[in-house]
């Protein structure tokens, strides 16, 4: 309601302003005898002073924002890598803020200082090679420092993780994340997107999943056999467009079936074990303080981006392409809550690549535990592996192992 009024008010005021402008313009055009192209000294000086005033206001606004919202705005980093990046960011900020103040000051100061004064001619000064060399070389030297420091950090951040790093896969689709821990062997099982089924959402590759996918493709409700039956049924008549859709669908499925048959022939059953012991985790990602993580990223439909603002980590998840990132959390959720003085604070994994309408809701809570709590949580998950989920009869009810976020955090 309030806003409607504001909008209405703005529109009305705008209209009045335009009407007034027209009148002022007409009157001033009559009153003023000087030509539009001759800027009076009064206008000139007024604008020069306003430029200088603007500079002061602008700088004050900047300083106010820095004081009110923090030097880097989002609190301290929560990973070893983040600490290093923040150091580099601060150093860069010192340099660029100095340049920002210096050059903007000179610009507005000169505008104010050298505004036209009657009888003072401009100084004819077309070039000076020494000066030009100076401001080619000095930025080059500063940039060399920035480049060297930046690339050193970049090489460390993008380099391989240590062998003992724990492997996790983050699987993204419109509009949620699923984590897959590598299990006891710390090896992520293989996958192939063609194996996606309701009971195998992450399309993990095992002898059983290949078989059931093949079977589903052939005999499922919308499988090849049913489609063929439908198309060969002489009693039903389809419109051309429906027929076209069905035929395309059938040929697509036949092609997929061929690929999957090949997959079955080439499959090495020894690899099944690495998939069976994987642990699939939705809703909340649990991590351990001080543990390095090697995170593999996967996208099901469109490009997503795994973005951990507090760990200062980000990498796109690209359909058909393997990407990775690594980081080492260095503060538990509880520690960060104390630091931020916010009992409800949580780390977060967000999607940071436009991926459709609900892009802004695509997130996963991240909880960092200390070693003992993490081990306890992980032990609870031992009986909730992919194998246990895939063959539910043999598994214990999975829900008993679920841990409440707040409960775990308060344990330490």
């Amino acid at each position: 309601m309030e806003n409607k009024l504001i909008i209405l008010l703005v529109i009305v005021l705008g209209a009045i302003a335009v009407a007034q402008l027209v009148r002022i313009y007409e009157i001033s055009a009559k009153l003023r005898k000087n030509e539009e192209h001759e800027i009076s000294n009064r206008d000139n000086n007024l604008n020069a002073r306003m430029m200088f005033g603007f500079m002061i206001a602008f700088f004050a606004f900047f300083i106010y924002l820095m004081v009110a919202y923090g030097w880097t705005g989002r609190g301290s980093a929560a990973s070893d890598e983040g600490v290093e990046m923040d150091w580099l960011l601060n150093l860069n900020f010192v340099i660029i803020i100095a340049v920002f103040f210096l050059t903007n000051f000179l610009l507005f100061f000169f505008t104010w200082r050298y505004v036209r004064k009657p009888g003072v001619p401009a100084f004819y000064y077309p070039h000076n090679n020494k000066l030009e060399m100076l401001w080619t070389v000095v930025p080059a030297v500063v940039l060399a420092v920035i480049i060297i420091l930046g690339l050193q950090t970049w090489n460390r951040l993008s380099g391989p993780s240590k062998p003992e790093a724990e492997k996790i896969e983050l699987f993204s689709k419109q509009f949620d994340w699923t984590a897959r821990y590598a299990g006891a062997d710390n090896t992520l099982g293989l996958y192939d997107y063609k194996l996606t089924l309701d009971n195998n959402e992450l399309a993990l590759l095992t002898t059983n999943t290949i078989d059931s996918s093949l079977n589903n493709m052939l005999n499922g409700a919308t499988g090849i056999r049913n489609l063929q039956k439908l198309l060969n049924n002489r009693d039903t008549v389809f419109s051309d467009s429906t027929l076209n859709v069905l035929r395309t669908d059938l040929s697509r499925k036949e092609r997929l079936y061929r690929f999957m048959t090949q997959m079955k022939e080439n499959h090495n059953p020894k690899l099944d074990a690495s998939a069976w012991d994987d642990i699939i985790q939705k809703d909340t990602l649990y991590l351990c303080k001080g543990q390095e993580y090697e995170i593999a990223l996967r996208a099901k439909d469109v490009i997503h981006s795994a973005y951990f603002p507090h760990f200062r980590a980000q990498m796109n998840a690209v359909p058909g392409m393997a990407t990775r990132l690594k980081f080492t959390p260095n503060k538990t959720t509880a520690e960060m809550r104390r630091e931020k003085n916010d009992e409800k604070f949580n780390y977060i994994l967000m999607c940071n690549k436009i991926c459709g309408g609900a892009h802004y809701k695509m997130k996963m809570v991240v909880v960092v535990l200390d070693k003992s709590a993490y081990k306890k949580w992980m032990d609870g998950k031992k009986k909730a592996t992919f194998k246990d989920q895939y063959f539910p009869v043999a598994a214990a009810p999975a829900d008993t192992t679920a841990v409440d976020t707040t409960a775990v955090v308060t344990m330490n």
């Binding site: 409607k4 909008i7 302003a17 027209v22 055009a29 030509e35 192209h37 000139n44 430029m51 603007f54 606004f61 924002l65 919202y69 705005g73 990046m85 580099l88 660029i96 340049v99 050059t103 903007n104 000169f110 505008t111 050298y114 036209r116 401009a122 077309p126 070039h127 030009e132 080619t136 930025p139 480049i147 930046g150 690339l151 950090t153 970049w154 090489n155 419109q174 997107y193 063609k194 697509r252 092609r255 439909d301 469109v302 490009i303 981006s305 973005y307 990498m315 796109n316 690209v318 058909g320 392409m321 393997a322 409800k344 604070f345 690549k353 436009i354 459709g356 309408g357 609900a358 802004y360």
Partner: protein, 601 residues
């Protein structure tokens, strides 16, 4: 037909006026000055549309989920039921805002307008090398603008994948509704736009190389022309690559190819595409996309070089260094595109190379800034509205440029990529700078375009509202981004669930930003009024209102076909002889021969 009346009034003694049909004079004109004005009018209109779109989504960002009559008025029940913007349409607005601003306002409007008007006039040519191609270029631009606008009204909505339209999102209508007909229209529109841009650019290049008047050597050309020249070369080399990217995307969408698609399940449907790479699209797109930044920026820098020198009453400092930096920026712009892709999974070593090349661009940019500063130093500044906008451009070029150093540093880009920090950076360095350059150009060359003067006071009012409004919009965005806010988010309510401090920061700043955005948008009314009123009723312009040296001010006030009534002017000196010691006045036009014993600069 008000223009016709005004025309008739103003032309009593015009001997060169020969009867021209309305259609050949105003619509299918082959005269470069009229085509430039057509570009300007179309671009101003497109810019207004894009600005309105941004106000619509800014309202959503500042007051998420609140009902707004303003939104329901413009978007109706379909896209803003009960006055609340739909998620999909939010993305559509963002996408079309970006597309129009980058391509239709800042490429078509800036390069299209001023290259057309100034290249023949400042070089001493009768017209462009090919008037017909020039006309074709404009009409393709107009057609592509119309198609882009139509795409806003189709049932499934406009393109919604962001202005970069990354596949697979842009290739799969199942993924977002705008990737249906809206995206097809986007591709059609952009294809025509690219053709228009290519024809135009080739024309500019040929004109600059071949049609310079006697004495107008390359090193006597005003910096505007150098900027247009390099801009046109960048366009010719990079736009075809965007066309190829768009073409492959069209084939993926319509013909079942797999250039960008691989292993996808969308909307429950398992696609058979395999082996394509979305990263390929990004490489192709940014191979245009980065030079595009300079296609937008260089003309603005060229215009402001001219305006700052004229109104400082001083030669531009380091003319040759300015040319060298334009060339260096142009060259480097082709080998930096990967800095948009540090976190896409591109090889990290390749990333390092792009860090290096990108940061190199800061050197010629710094040279330009310091040369502007030295030009102002000890000048005798005349603060016309054009001059204020040009100085504003230098400020935004600095403010937006320095944050580029952070984003070019791959190690820092990891945490800032796709956040509002990026939005702040490119809106200031590219958006504000180019728009300021465009306004500066309009205020400065309005007398040449229309033979009349703009109102100076309204120009001042417009400048101050725009400067304060635009900085008020984009400066706080740095802090939103540093707090971690991703761009292209419909709202930030998610933050309230896990980090209330950040959430409050974002709400606060988003409201400040939207308020300034509305202020700045309303401020443009001043400009529009001044612009259209002055076209018809502004005071008549003198021949050389700013006491400038360049050739365009030696043409008659009433524009004529062929630009100069008699022979073409002969050039004897460089364009920056302002306040030359020993001269009788503080400027010497380029057509004035050197005096006995006088040295060229």
């Amino acid at each position: 037909m008000a223009s016709h009346d005004a025309h008739a009034h103003g032309h009593h003694e015009d001997h060169h006026h020969h009867e021209e049909h309305f259609i050949s004079k105003y619509i299918f004109s082959q005269d470069h000055k009229m085509i430039g004005k057509q570009f300007l009018m179309t671009a101003v209109f497109m810019g207004l549309v894009a600005m309105m779109l941004s106000i619509l989504f800014r309202i959503q960002l500042a007051w998420p989920g609140e009902s707004s009559d303003f939104l329901s008025f413009f978007l109706g029940e379909k896209w803003a039921p009960n006055g609340v913007l739909k998620e999909d349409m939010y993305l559509g607005l963002v996408t079309i805002h970006g597309t129009i601003m980058v391509f239709f306002l800042l490429t078509g409007g800036l390069s299209g307008t001023f290259s057309n008007i100034l290249i023949p006039l400042q070089l001493g040519a009768r017209d462009m090398a090919s008037g017909f191609l020039n006309m074709l270029s404009y009409w393709m631009f107009a057609l592509s603008s119309i198609i882009m606008l139509i795409s806003l009204f189709v049932e499934s909505g406009p393109a919604m994948a962001g202005w970069t339209v990354y596949p697979p999102l842009s290739a799969l209508p199942q993924a977002v509704s705008g990737s249906g007909l809206g995206m097809t229209l986007w591709l059609v529109s952009m294809t025509i736009f690219i053709a228009s841009s290519l024809i135009g650019s080739l024309n500019y290049i040929v004109t600059i190389i071949n049609l310079r008047t006697q004495g107008m050597t390359m090193t006597r050309m005003p910096l505007t022309i150098w900027a247009f020249f390099v801009t046109a070369i960048l366009g010719v080399l990079s736009f075809p690559v965007l066309l190829s990217a768009a073409l492959l995307l069209t084939m993926d969408r319509l013909m079942g190819t797999s250039f960008y698609l691989s292993d996808i399940i969308v909307g429950g449907e398992m696609l058979t595409n395999h082996g394509g790479s979305p990263i390929l699209y990004q490489h192709l797109f940014w191979f245009l996309g980065h030079p595009e930044v300079y296609i937008v920026l260089l003309p603005a820098l060229g215009l402001s070089s001219e305006i700052i020198a004229t109104n400082s009453r001083k030669p531009i400092f380091g003319y040759k260094a300015m040319i060298a930096s334009i060339l260096a920026i142009g060259f480097l712009s082709f080998i930096v595109w990967g800095h948009h892709m540090f976190v896409t999974g591109m090889n990290p070593f390749l990333g390092s190379v792009f860090v290096f090349t990108t940061l190199l661009i800061a050197i010629p940019s710094a040279v330009k800034v310091f040369n502007y500063l030295t030009t102002l130093w000890k000048g005798s500044l005349v603060l016309t509205p054009a001059m204020l906008f040009a100085i504003g451009l230098v400020s935004t070029f600095i403010t937006g440029g320095v944050t580029g150093i952070i984003l070019a540093d791959s190690a820092l880009d990891i945490m800032l990529h796709d956040t509002y920090f990026v939005v702040a950076h490119f809106h200031i360095v590219m958006g504000m700078s180019a728009v300021f350059g465009m306004f500066a150009g309009v205020y400065h060359w309005f007398p040449k375009m229309f033979g009349r003067m703009l109102n100076t006071r309204l120009g001042y009012a417009h400048f101050w509202v725009t400067l304060i409004g635009a900085y008020g919009v984009f400066f706080p965005m740095h802090f939103v981004g540093l707090a971690g806010a991703p761009r292209r988010y419909y709202d930030y309510s998610a933050y309230s669930e896990f980090d209330n401090n950040s959430f409050e920061l974002m709400v606060d700043l988003n409201q400040i930003i939207t308020t300034f955005a509305i202020l700045a948008a309303i401020g443009q009314v001043i400009f529009l009024f001044n612009f259209f009123y002055s076209i018809f009723r502004g005071p008549k312009a003198p021949q050389n209102p700013w006491n400038a040296t360049t050739l365009e001010w030696t043409t008659p006030v009433e524009a004529i076909h062929g630009n100069w009534p008699g022979d073409l002017p002969v050039v004897h000196r460089w364009p920056y002889d302002y306040s030359k010691p020993g001269a009788s006045q503080d400027y010497i036009t380029q057509i004035t021969p050197l005096e006995e014993g006088e040295e060229e600069h």
